[in-house]
Symmetry: C2
Subunit: 203 residues, 2 copies
């Protein structure tokens, strides 16, 4: 199960090997495979092709790996909330845009977002991440409420419930979506938006 280690991009001084980013990428993959708690530094080192102690040259400990990964996911998601199309125009259009972009971010940063969505809150690092995630959820929830107030949603829909379901649909992508398997990300986003906004049944 030992993976060959990647030659780092030349041009920088020092021995070739992992830099923080390439190491993090492997670590997150393993975390997603076995779960954070289920991953020991030992097996992580094996998959990296280096020893346990070498990991501590790059990070201060296991929890820092987690923190770096979670921050990356959260930053990518929050970046969407400040894009222009998410902050102006009719609310249902903002919502559609946000759903579409969320799918795209999720696809682009799949391993990191996956890890984020599985955090349980066992440690301080995890609890901080959960708090930021709730902020993001609130942003979307507000959009649904506003879209309902503008009269663009089907009548009789509960906004709070709806935003959770929509989110659930998007987030569930991590369970099966894998890059370069079938269509493009844009196709995927189209399908999600279509199902969410127009439904399954023939009109």
């Amino acid at each position: 199960m030992t993976t060959a280690r990647p030659a780092r991009k030349t041009g920088s001084p020092g021995r070739p090997g992992y830099d923080l980013d390439s190491l993090l990428a492997v670590a997150v993959k393993v975390f997603n495979d076995k779960g954070y708690d289920g991953t020991s530094m030992e097996v992580l080192a094996q998959r990296l092709g280096i020893t346990k102690s070498s990991i501590y040259h790059h990070v201060s400990g296991k929890s820092e790996l987690l923190e770096l990964a979670l921050s990356r996911a959260l930053n990518a998601l929050f970046a969407v909330t400040t894009e222009e199309k998410a902050t102006s125009g009719r609310y249902i259009d903002r919502l559609e845009y946000l759903v579409r972009r969320s799918v795209e971010v999720l696809a682009a940063e799949l391993p990191y977002v996956t890890l984020l969505l599985r955090v349980r809150g066992n440690t301080a690092v995890e609890r901080r991440a959960l708090a930021r995630r709730r902020e993001f959820d609130a942003f979307v929830s507000d959009l649904v409420v506003a879209a309902a107030e503008e009269g663009d949603l089907r009548p009789g829909i509960d906004p709070a419930l709806t935003s959770r379901l929509v989110f659930g649909t998007v987030n569930s992508l991590i369970e099966w979506y894998r890059p370069r398997t079938g269509g493009t990300v844009a196709d995927l986003a189209d399908a999600v938006v279509e199902l969410t906004f127009d439904g399954l049944r023939r009109a």
Copy 2:
């Protein structure tokens, strides 16, 4: 964090305390809280209000607790696939019925299904559960394909993708649904079915 232990129903011989079912219920709750790998037998014992070793009177080990819980969830889900309304009639109606009943099962067996949906496949027990879960997924996937062939789905819909999205929506309920918070389970099932089949946008 020590929880008082429940008095078992009298009438049976032996010292009062936990029986397998009541113990399992607590264990699953803790597993969902902290994750299976994140739960030590020590903290589990604390929450039970008994000692570590006492747990081994009821089960052979940590993994048996997991196995019992996962079986319970899987049996409940598979039971739906043999109900009459899931095996006869137009396929889109079978599908709608299955979605509705899945929501109900998920609500009724919430902790157990939650645990099931978080399994990663680290151990043999987990891998067996994942295999059975894939069987269930295949059942639903076939329904969507058949409904498309009967012409009851919106044109241009990819059945494989759709079944995954629909399932994702249902399964995402475990992330936030809690019993006795707001409406009944039937209301919830209605909302899920409505969003899934008729969509969000005003017609």
